[in-house]
Symmetry: D2
Subunit: 412 residues, 4 copies
């Protein structure tokens, strides 16, 4: 009789290697290892062999970078999503894509479960599993770190190494870093270790080696660099006049941002599972894109559409952060966002300089800005009669006057 | 019989000088000149004499700087107000204070009207007049620039200068700048002139002379500087450990921010009167304060309070921008904000470097961040059981699974 | 040389008859009279002749009822719009349609302006003119009641009658009612006159004659009547199993609601132009539809989509009330609403009895309600493990516990 | 050595009786029985004896009705809270009060835990436990129905009865009803049993016996009855001119509402734990109060305060429904609500008739409604100049015209 199949999100690191073997033993199942290439730039070479050597029956290594940029990063940036006023959601937005592919593989393979190595304290477990729930409610999820048996078997790193050695799982003798990292096309995150002390100065020179995607502002070039981003309907489609697909845009902006020390954020944030945590992020290209997009909107988006959308950013960002990408309320918000972006087209010029993304001009064939109306000089277009403001102000003031009159009569 | 009195917001510049005389003639009234010192640092010396020479019957020059910092800037920064994702509302927040004092003087003097020199195209007229409506619905407002007779008499600057000369009004022979400026304790704004072209690069070296409160990032010191801000209940009460009143805080932060090239914003914004306009702002101290306040909140503010407040920032900022400071809906929002700030206390350390305000540590005696809970290491406090996440995720996923199941059955 | 053309929204009543003639004289223009049939059931017979006799060069009488039901009422009811918790927006939603057709006629006729007889105090002027601004910014609007010359010429009804008689305009010698009325397919509104006193009891027996669309609850049948509404994607498509187009649905529900005394509302509301006013409405069919739609949603709409949509109802309703139907922010909200309605399909059974619309059952092939999960009995589907709630509650409680601990430590 | 103490929310019914004994045995602890009188009108006589006979070491029976009305119902009605457009939150609002008193008793008694008999599928468990978390994070909670051991021991009602008999627990031989009920001062709820079928017509004559607090509209008096409610700062303080404390108000309104068949709601709702469920409610007095409060606001509350508050009702209601009464975000919202209610004072007259609550007049010494302004007749106060509307509309239309112009130019 055929064994059950389990699809495991596999990175080749110690945790998922141990989990691969452990799953195989515990469930007496075929384990299909799946690695998504979402721009993490980690060593993907040899991963297939390693997975097979560890016991996988089959290995998927899928390049999802273009899909990531096009169907996940782009719509999220259209929404102007920013979590708690600071975080560009670099990790959050990658998880639904990975889980979606896992589910697709599970369906194609007839697997009964998917498994992941995320801990029981973080947001990633939620993001993986809510995606699976939304896309494949019938497929079970195995999260070993939330199983008491697993935690008891592996109370610490030492036990995992021992287990790996015992089972002939190849383990890299990498000097463990005093923090954890997670990287993709949009960003890299750092947490744990010395970062757990929020008073620790992650920007200090002594901590310089931690960063990967960007130089420090102090080490960035002394010469500013200009860049022009072209937008069509809310998406960046060209950099410095060169048409690019979404992946190309991200790679180009990452290069530029990293070079100029752009996009580092150090924050305390609120996890969905209820506690605060401290994270440090590098989002070089994303920070440029975020700034440019807002500036493009400022010229081309209707005022009240912007204010409405802005009032929903906190909600949208929280949904993405919490893993509700495939939830119907995110789709409803996205429909509003898509409608709001139809006219967000034109060119934004930015000046990159030692950590700064400085607006240096914006233009559009569909600009809603009309200097003839706005000017304090004589209005050549006669589009605006200053006398109109009198009635405008009076009617806006009417309810305030009535309230005020009542207030005064109360005090008598 | 005593003449009617009119209180005029007077700056000593060409416009309000001409208006002073024009009002006196047109209405055959006593004109009381009023100048608020809100940190504009313009020449206040000799202003009294000049007003009297121009025809004022009485002159008020009132130092409102401390009130401005304490009762206007502080509550607004508690709210985290940011207009259209970019503007710290430096001009908007000053107007209600000026109008409030005008109204107080009008009451004390028994004046029948207040007058101002704001144009019919801008936001300031609205802010002045909504404040007056809310505080003194019985007092009339005269806005000469919205009167056709006045506009016809003064179609351009030349006619104003001629009028001034004819009436012996002292006019400074200042070389007119190709843009307009407005300064106070919180910021300086620039608009008009060459800035009306949104493609004009206001950050260019060739435009360096425009800026007043800050050096360019390029010209800021090569050496970063650390600063510590102490917060109590959402307000900054000490800088680098030194207790200061709100005015002192703003002055100190302006000095630091200006030195390090911090707080320049160049944007297209949406005026309340219906058109887009382009503004450039320097808000050096405010930018430091804004950043520090968010970081203080990140450590001490409850997650759901933050998300609720964040969803209302757009609304709050729009109210301030549009001049509804003394409107009951702003007061209702402020009550929510005040409740949210009770626990926002502690110290934020920032690193100022060439335009960047970099978080470099945060601590608080009432911190809600508990590294023992957040840690990915073993949890010494046992406050968090990873197994709990299973139930948490399952119940969050339940409605997604049900929806998904229905969706799948529809496709069959 | 050809004369300019003006399109006038014409009802045949005294006001618009006088305005027709007055416009013709004042502007020396051709006046095109336009009457929209939106279900007002007023005498449309003879209207063409009357308009021509009064001086119109051409007359349009267009039946817009089906368009009104399909493209205006339906999307608004999908949104669950309710203004200030009480008003179903019966007048508000009709205005954009009328103005849209006026603009279409103006374009087709090459007219330079449109004109209407709405007063300067109400909401209708705004709704007409914002629609025109959004659809035809180049066409001028003439609102005689806002012109001082017109108001001076016609300070009261007597002067209008005299003018009509002088110009041979046929005037009905109708006994004037002590209130004004406005009727369409969705509702009838009453205001002014004795209704201006908010303490006046409009529900009193002595006021019975005012109502048009419905009997009083007291006069409704003693026998309840059941009705079933079938929904597809948020719209009612059948009543009692009989397929109907949107117009047919409204007519059928109006008949049922009117018979059973349903849909009267008496309220004080806030006009866009700044004052409160008192209105009484009859919306018999709309009230049934509104209730049924919510009940259909309760069974088929995802929880978080509903909560999101509900948080936007006040905004949506205010936009419609204020006349922003064709504004981009209404379109953005509508996109969200449309997305939310995809699954709102099924049957609602209601019991109509003396003013009450009582839910009497709801069912759907795409119901999200699963009694096997909800039941307090044993769960045959095993879809829900009660133990999961422990983790769910613990993680939801975590931040409250941390806050509470900090609070307690402060008090020590 | 003294035994640990556990405080149990005890009703005297089969479940909590069995739980009392089971807790005592399982934890070898002293069990303190606590019953809150929140208006459930169930037999409280003999409850103390029964609890002691079942093994309680001490019994608290506390009358919390006045506190319930004053500190829970009143602030919630000030907020206009309505869950999912239909539910007045009668059960939800009682739970935090009960849990608060449990915690107080636990503190006074030095208890280590509190326990309740709510199931793992409902909202009440969450409401109890979130309250406990917010008020006493150090006290443990025991929820037997979520413990697998307990569920295994008591798979059904038969096992509980057998256990009760074995331990000499007095069990009433009541004929079990085919649904469950929960009653308090504000309402009674029904769920389960035949109600689990959402197509079941709970309004049918054959189901009449289920209802407790109200007659059917069909059985209500043929004669309408008028009632006047007097409000001060958002709270009802007198009925028909007679001053009453909050408890007295609720009792009087319940009597009136019940008599006239008012306040029945039958709905499908979304539980916090993730599933939909069907509930039927009777809220006779609450429905009158809710309607009256809105009408009082309509006359005395500023427009923009109302729209702001209305946009937050869904959020507020969800917080109460989900059990976050003592969470900081509810307190923040309440601060906004309290500010909004300062002027909500006056008298509302209602007509009660066969299920209908009909507005029949409203007046206030601080009314913001000024018929002199609103009237379509000549305005004696000259407070409103119709010509002002022209400028008001033009500036509101400006952005629409600009957008429209851009749109048209795109199509060329």
């Amino acid at each position: 009789m055929a064994k059950d199949k389990i699809v495991l999100a596999y990175s080749g690191g110690l945790d998922t290697s141990v989990i691969l073997k452990w799953l195989k033993e515990t469930y007496d199942a075929e384990i299909i290892a799946f690695t998504a290439d979402i721009g993490q730039k980690e060593e993907l070479d040899g991963l297939e062999e390693k997975a097979l050597a560890t016991g996988a029956s089959k290995v998927y290594i899928d390049d999802l970078r273009e899909e990531f940029a096009k169907d996940f990063i782009n719509p999220m940036f259209q929404a102007g999503a920013l979590y708690e006023g600071q975080y560009l959601l670099g990790t959050s937005i990658a998880r639904p894509l990975i889980a979606k592919r896992m589910v697709d593989i599970a369906r194609a393979e007839g697997a009964v479960a998917i498994a992941h190595g995320a801990t029981g304290k973080g947001n990633d477990q939620v993001r993986f599993e809510l995606t699976a729930a939304a896309l494949a409610p019938d497929i079970a999820v195995i999260a070993p770190w939330r199983l008491e048996a697993f935690r008891e078997q592996f109370p610490g790193r030492a036990e995992m190494i021992a287990y790996a050695e015992k089972h002939g799982i190849p383990v890299q003798a990498s000097a463990s870093k005093p923090y954890s990292m997670d990287r993709n096309l949009l960003h890299i995150s750092f947490e744990s270790g010395m970062l757990e002390d929020p008073w620790f100065d992650a920007s200090a020179d002594s901590n310089k080696d931690m960063y990967v995607l960007s130089v420090s502002p102090e080490d960035a070039p002394d010469q500013a660099e200009y860049v022009e981003l072209t937008f069509e309907a809310g998406n960046c489609v060209a950099v410095n006049g060169e048409q690019m697909n979404p992946l190309g845009v991200m790679e180009k902006l990452n290069e530029l941002g990293g070079k100029h020390g752009i996009g580092r954020v150090d924050m305390v944030e609120n996890r969905f599972v209820g506690m605060k945590s401290r994270g440090v992020y590098e989002t070089p290209g994303g920070t440029i894109l975020f700034t440019a997009h807002r500036k493009m909107e400022s010229l081309t988006m209707d005022r009240d559409v912007m204010h409405l959308r802005d009032s929903l950013i906190s909600k949208y960002a929280t949904l993405v952060y919490n893993g509700f990408w495939f939830a119907p309320e995110r789709l409803a918000l996205q429909a509003l966002v898509a409608e709001s972006q139809k006219n967000v087209s034109g060119v934004v010029r930015l000046k990159l300089y030692k950590g700064n993304v400085i607006g240096a001009g914006v233009k559009s064939p569909v600009s809603l800005y009309n200097p003839d109306i706005a000017t304090m000089e004589a209005d050549p277009s006669k589009a605006y009669d200053q006398g109109d403001a009198t009635g405008f102000i009076r009617l806006n003031a009417l309810r305030l006057k009535v309230s005020s009159g009542v207030e005064q009569s109360k005090q008598k």
